[in-house]
Symmetry: C2
Subunit: 173 residues, 2 copies
């Protein structure tokens, strides 16, 4: 097996979703089985020998690594969704966006009290969504053991918003 | 290991998302690691010894089983998204809903020509979204080897819309 450089499988797209933003596109990585597996193994590396009861992730891209992380850690997978998508009783949290607010939901029975929860997402930007997702998990009684990303956009200082948690990222830009 | 009955982990929710619909909620299954792994193994069972180059799935719930299926089959994962979510050049397909239309997109370079593609989703209802997703994969040059679901709502006759393909489902209601 040849050594894989994960960053070679991340495509940079200028001015997307708007002018001045350099978007890091992970779809080439997802499309390459070796790079994909290497990425997920690297994301969960800090938690491989720890007890994790649940992995939680925010739709939609968070589901891609979140569900595999859960399977690999022998944990349950708990989806966090935008408002109105989950069919059972939900706990909600709202958070500020650049313009307006957004709301995330989780099933009230998704996470057992005091369960150890690993939060997974592909990319840490401003940290606002992840900070809200952590509050949501805590509102349901879960304990956020850590937050693991594939990519961190360090310039945006997203760690500041989630600094009370253990945060890891495989690639930094 | 005790024998797991997958259907015991599917929760039925009456009148959701609207009156008269009995919604099959997979979140209890996702939250149980043994049931989750058993479900994904059952979904990909017909393709375990076949060559699959890519697994494609439609956001958001399709990503949950789709990404694990790709990893387990040593295939690349190709996300199919709603309009405007993918950052690179896309191929699009529109399809009719009960009221109005919806549009799906895939990256034009996501699937290589003549690649063998397995389509994955959690649930087959009317089949409209999956039929559109298959057309999209074919438009990019891929060959739809099969479509695998966890759940099929047989009364809705969704197989009719995708009958030219190999279709499998683990649970039928």
């Amino acid at each position: 097996m040849t050594k894989i450089n994960l960053s070679e499988h991340i495509r940079s797209i200028p001015d997307w979703p708007k002018k001045g933003i350099l978007f890091r596109d992970i779809t080439p990585l997802l499309g390459n089985p070796e790079a994909f597996i290497l990425a997920i193994d690297a994301i969960i590396e800090p938690y491989k020998n720890k007890r994790i009861d649940f992995v939680a992730a925010v739709e939609a891209r968070g589901f891609i690594f979140g569900s595999i992380a859960a399977a690999k850690l022998n944990a349950g997978f708990v989806p966090i969704r935008k408002k109105g998508k989950l069919p059972y009783k939900t706990q909600t949290v709202s958070y500020d966006l650049e313009y307006g607010t957004d709301t995330l939901e989780i099933h009230t029975d998704g996470i057992k009290k005091d369960a150890k929860v690993l939060m997974i997402d592909d990319l840490l930007a401003t940290g606002g969504t992840m900070a809200a997702a952590c509050r949501l998990v805590e509102k349901t009684g879960g304990i956020v053991e850590g937050i693991a990303f594939l990519i961190e956009l360090a310039d945006l200082n997203g760690r500041e918003k989630i600094k009370k948690h253990n945060v890891s990222a495989v690639l930094k830009y």
